[in-house]
Symmetry: C2
Subunit: 527 residues, 2 copies
Amino acid sequence: MTTQPLLIGGEWREARELLGAFRAEDPTTGAPIGPAFPLCGAADVEAALQAAAAVADELAAGPPERIAAFLDAYAAGIEADAEALVDVAHAETALPKQPRLANVELPRTTNQLRLAAKAVRSYAWTQPVIDTAAGLRTHRAPLSKPVLVFGPNNFPFAFNAIAGSDFASAIAARNPVIAKAHPSHPATSERLARIAFAALEQSGLPLAAVQLLYHFDYGVGARLAGDARLGAIGFTGSRAGGLALKAAADAAGVPAYVELSSVNPVFLLPGALAERGEALAQEFFTSCTMGSGQFCTNPGVVIVPRDAAGDAFVSAARAHFAAAAPSVLFSRGVLDHLQAGVATLRSAGAEVLAGGTTGEHGYRYAPTLLSVSAETFLQQPKLQTEAFGPVSLLVRVRDVSQMAQVASSFEGNLTGTLYSANDGRDAEAWSTVAHALRPRVGRLIGNRMPTGVAVSPAMNHGGPYPSTGHPGFTAVGMPAAITRFTALHCYDNVPEQQLPTELRDRNPGGVTRCVDGVWRNDDLGSA
Amino acid sequence: MTTQPLLIGGEWREARELLGAFRAEDPTTGAPIGPAFPLCGAADVEAALQAAAAVADELAAGPPERIAAFLDAYAAGIEADAEALVDVAHAETALPKQPRLANVELPRTTNQLRLAAKAVRSYAWTQPVIDTAAGLRTHRAPLSKPVLVFGPNNFPFAFNAIAGSDFASAIAARNPVIAKAHPSHPATSERLARIAFAALEQSGLPLAAVQLLYHFDYGVGARLAGDARLGAIGFTGSRAGGLALKAAADAAGVPAYVELSSVNPVFLLPGALAERGEALAQEFFTSCTMGSGQFCTNPGVVIVPRDAAGDAFVSAARAHFAAAAPSVLFSRGVLDHLQAGVATLRSAGAEVLAGGTTGEHGYRYAPTLLSVSAETFLQQPKLQTEAFGPVSLLVRVRDVSQMAQVASSFEGNLTGTLYSANDGRDAEAWSTVAHALRPRVGRLIGNRMPTGVAVSPAMNHGGPYPSTGHPGFTAVGMPAAITRFTALHCYDNVPEQQLPTELRDRNPGGVTRCVDGVWRNDDLGSA
């Protein structure tokens, strides 16, 4: 059997331990498309780990400018190949070419790579802190070990294991990467990896700075995640998969940054509903069904008062959902998982208002709206199950006080949203609900749907467990996302010429440093 | 049986589930001293957890000034009671009253509390980041859950579960604390807790912001560490204990900041030895035996060339060790553990040059120097076993290249030290060894012993696994140590009046914030 080559140790080569092969599928039909890709075994995984580890020191000690040049060249290469990349990603994911793939996700991906390059050149991610009196200088530094990145199914570019935020973050901190592509879009991943490889050659980085594996089985993955030769893991995907990898990594002392699941509660305050309920129903429907609802920040639970304005919102939303054609999902796995999720919600007491059915061909599921009372929701933790897809659960509440009670009942989520009236009449209700919701979410949003995730230094795409494994980190936004893949390094009374560039007295690059408590970008000892 | 009361939920009260009692011991004789303290059961632990959790929201939402006032009042209260505190700590630990307890550790502790108060007032630990164009504002916020702090045996004040760095850090971030004192100095911990309690009353914080437990058994501790109602754990102590707690916490998604063990390698470069070998032998002996060697950053392994200058150093060091009287250790447990550690080193091939014997009374062990060849060291990972006490292992190397090889062989450590000649002749050797050592240690030190740990914003008292559980955090130094006990909170398009103080447009307190990439302390929209 011939399968596409792996990228290991600077070479495109056949899997040496080929345990099987798989092909991508056209999600609209379920038919296999494109070439066969390898399901590789432990020997190939070991080779990737050794190759990455072998260049870790060289990468860590090398000039940051090479890293920045690589990231910029990679972004340019992606742009130059945009049309073909969009074609292959569309074929493998059924995501719309426009605007989604070509106008939103691909530019976001290249922007992210360039923002990482900018953070490399400015040294912003290194956060230098200098105490002149104590003779102490500390900054963030490379892990000097490989970072293992697992890409999810839902962003073939922007979260791709070999092009997305985790990848850019890990490389920006001068760590080698072992990219584990998502097997639902292998040809997109290979195409990106070939562009990355050309950018490596162009920038003079070690060619083994990046490895690409397409698929391995569960046991091999868990053993790799628990290998102490790794510096860290970045994972975006299902809760079960992420927790298994986290457990293996935890046991080996490997920091695991896992983004797991989230239902992203949206609270419609009474004034907002009275003021613009119809418009909110449209906004909610659009957000919930965009990209077939396959977003980490999909509005999966909407809290709606049990009053006339609430009823009107529900009936408008129901009409939108009922009129919609089935959405195409990424894969059989996503469809199966979604059906199981909806079944869980129903068996826990939710009633289907619209949808709840599969389509005729391929991996299709009707946009689905469910409803449940706050009383039942508060009794049934299973109603917080994520149904990944175009599905949302309405929770009907008696009043603002019960809204706050529902807010308090949520486990950790990436986001929580409040909609309030423009005239300020919801201010007190906002305070009440936000107070309960705030500690349970990473990003608190006002009057817009959670599905937009800006790549900004002030973004937090993270949240309390179990939405992620640690409440203190974001997976999106430079330079913050980079700090996940760093170690804190202190220099105590170390001779000037033995210090890293950004910790020296002279600061010709104008790096921003916290010197004796003040952020400044001049030389040490300046007035 | 009457035992000292626990502090739970704002009350000093008897243990409700008294599983046993214990007393402190005079380490110089082994005789019990002071009153009996409770070994409490799951019911008391549950009560402490519930009491702390019940005030978490109030504490998180309350004014930071109250927290700062508490920390300042606590520091003042400790100073006012200094003489009695030093007496009781001396009796329980046998650490010298002067300079150690009265002139070093107590001032360090009050300084640390005041630096935490300063970080609270300046909001430095919240690290505000604002993106005006995107409408995003992010900062670090309380966990809104209790933090469980385990204090170690070796700093009855500065790392005490109810007064030390973890305590000050957790409270500064407005989290309630459950302090688990070290059972070798219970009366010191009670005395501190009574001062803390008075400071709580004085500052108007909820009285249940702080609980004190003295001792519980292993199973109870592991269940508590794995309780998802906790926000985080801070632990300083033995590797076995810390790893067990970390495993329980990891499984529940509770971040565990554990500081475990470290041998703190010291590399004596050839020029330094030739220049001042005798002086280095004195400096090394003093550092290794200070506080009976019971420091996390004790110089446990010293790498010495196999040449004439190296031999002279060894013989001078050996003379110092051989002439020293046995050191008093904290407890039977420390003595047993140290003897086991030395036995491990010997069975792995180390030869005893001096010491290796216990004293006649109490918990005494002779300052002990061992030696081994680099070849054996490189073959035997057990030679990296920490022997907690006045013990150090010399590793004799052929040349600088073998020194670098030894450096590369170390697992994660808190510190790594290089001594170089004053005339610059070791510059190349420094580069070679430091390159190998740097990724394996949290703090790289030049020409001073690792036992001094300054409380500075530029300190890193942390390091790669297994010295700690995560390479990105420090346990000492404000505001950095505080960030361990925080969650990242983003506000996305949230109305101005619903934002936390330090994220609002107006910035009357002059909080330093990163606004559109620039650190500044003015109002938003200023020119």
